[in-house]
Symmetry: C2
Subunit: 336 residues, 2 copies
């Protein structure tokens, strides 16, 4: 009998501007039996995230670039199906960083067991209980130092991070939660399902005017997932001592020219604003508090964890591209 094979997604070529399917290869590779101390995992879900766009470029950033002609990686959840390490018996559900593939192998230490019974779907470990949820929690509470009574604005509010930011803001006593998104359906989702106080479609007009209308008393916190025009508009609506968590700038990741910056930076002085960028993996001291709070909110049914699931590794490049276009609601996850 020949060795089993599994599919992986490789970076075929670095994109210039907006990536296309041609930037990805779906490749069949042998699936080796695990050696001593190693495990073999069948992935059930893997994550596609905005930060991966940066890794498709050459050049130094905070994460190493993907290599052309090699498998990409990222967060994934799977089940141990063969084990040569007693710490991870067959059947264990594990979270790890060998996504964009059907089968993952490696030393047991590279796989973390998770409780599959904590959530209806273990895909939650890629979203609300994973990196995007943790990003929302740290960015809102620690970086932007959100306090009870703050008016909070979040861009890309229907996305994986933004949808959690807005809900945590509400649960932590924000006076007003405002979000923007890229379709009227998402705007309805924000107000009807996530109970945002106000939301608007950034395609329907200049952000500054829509935000000013949605936040008649200004905003105290801005959680920026988008950059560009959103940032300038938020600065214009900031109250004194406002705080900005700089989380991402998805509007700019495909840009081939530098993005024009906010033309109102002097507001930082006159309104005593603070803006702080962060990378969530540097805040692991907050992980226990995050898991405690978010799992309680999930148990109590006060936090929604919506996902957009795309089935099949062969559709994962399309899932990534759709996520970059903002077609997901909640976390975009590839289901295998």
């Amino acid at each position: 009998m020949s060795d089993p094979t599994g599919k992986e997604v490789w970076l075929a070529a670095r994109p210039h501007g907006v990536p296309t399917a041609a930037n990805f290869d779906i490749v069949d590779v042998p699936v080796p039996a695990p050696t001593d101390g190693h495990v073999l995992v069948r992935n059930q879900f893997f994550s596609v995230d905005p930060y991966m766009r940066g890794r498709m470029n050459a050049g130094k950033s905070y994460a190493p670039p993907y290599e052309v002609g090699a498998v990409m990686d990222g967060a994934a959840v799977g089940e141990v199906i063969a084990s040569e390490d007693t710490s991870l018996p067959v059947g264990t559900t594990v979270l790890h960083n060998k996504g964009w593939r059907e089968y993952a192998t490696g030393p047991a230490a590279e796989f973390s067991p998770v409780d599959p019974d904590l959530t209806p779907s273990t895909s939650a470990y890629l979203g609300v209980l994973g990196g995007t949820g943790f990003t929302a929690y740290v960015g809102l509470l620690d970086i932007a130092e959100m306090r009870e009574g703050d008016a909070v604005y979040v861009s890309a509010a229907a996305g994986a991070v933004g949808s959690v930011v807005g809900q945590i803001a509400r649960l932590r006593g924000a006076s007003r939660v405002i979000g923007s998104a890229g379709s009227d359906a998402k705007v309805s989702y924000l107000t009807d399902k996530l109970h945002f106080d106000a939301a608007f479609n950034y395609h329907s007009g200049p952000v500054a005017g829509q935000l000013a209308k949605a936040a008649p008393h200004g905003i105290d916190v801005f959680f920026d997932n988008v950059g560009g025009e959103q940032l300038e508009a938020a600065i214009a609506s900031m109250n004194n001592y406002g705080r900005i968590a700089a989380c991402g700038a998805i509007s700019t990741y495909n840009d081939t020219e530098p993005t024009p910056g906010p033309r109102n930076m002097f507001q930082f002085v006159s309104r005593r604003l603070t803006m702080r960028g962060f990378l969530v993996f540097e805040h692991n001291d907050r992980r226990a508090a995050f898991l405690r709070d978010v799992s309680r909110w999930l148990r109590e049914g006060v936090l929604r964890a919506d996902e957009t699931l795309i089935d099949g590794i062969e559709h994962s490049p399309a899932a990534f591209l759709a996520m970059m276009r903002g077609e997901n609601t909640g976390k975009m996850v590839v289901r295998l």
Copy 2:
């Protein structure tokens, strides 16, 4: 005998863009004898500062606008020459906010006695021991949280605030102090007199390239007095966890169109930068520490407090305009 008269500077008309002498009126006004509880002060020095440009515009900012056809105000030092309040006898040197005039009157509570023997000239209370020195101290140590070993870059480094920032950075153990200024003479002043490690003339080429050369290991702190191109260049040179104190944006104060913003805001995320604006008058809890440290450094002769003095109230509009063009070295002060 007719009442004595004194000169005041009034706002004649609001400027559009760069102000000119036509925006100011020098007006003779009667000098009244002080009433009960009031004092009469002959001003010796008054301050002209960049923030006053904002007050020449209509519209809300953090300080109220000057009124057209009324005297301007600002920091001044003078001597009590008539007193109807026992707390401030004739001969007391006082700091107050009724500048842009030869004689100031008002309730004694509006005048603060200062020690004339602490410095060679009481004009220091308008500069290194006054608002600009305090701005440098708070901005560098509290807002930018400068720590020993940081590489510090300051724009408008030969100005009233910048010159103190660079010197405090050195005194507090910066690994490298870098400044930019608008003339080769000022660049020499920074390196030869203030002992900056590196300095450059921002007219001699793009700031980003000159800064990168002057700070081969990047910068940890940027103290921004200038805004515009300086801010973008500093962001580009920032090390991880770099901190920016947003103090002013003199390059933009005469702009009639919004200033283009930094095109590299994503660096806030990837390098985990923090930028914070501040207004020094909200940090009075730090005033005692500031006065203690700066007066000690002055006594020890390790801190220079250079000034550019312009004589005569009739030359005060020209002094202000020259300061806005960056023609001063150290604090620009009008001497009466």
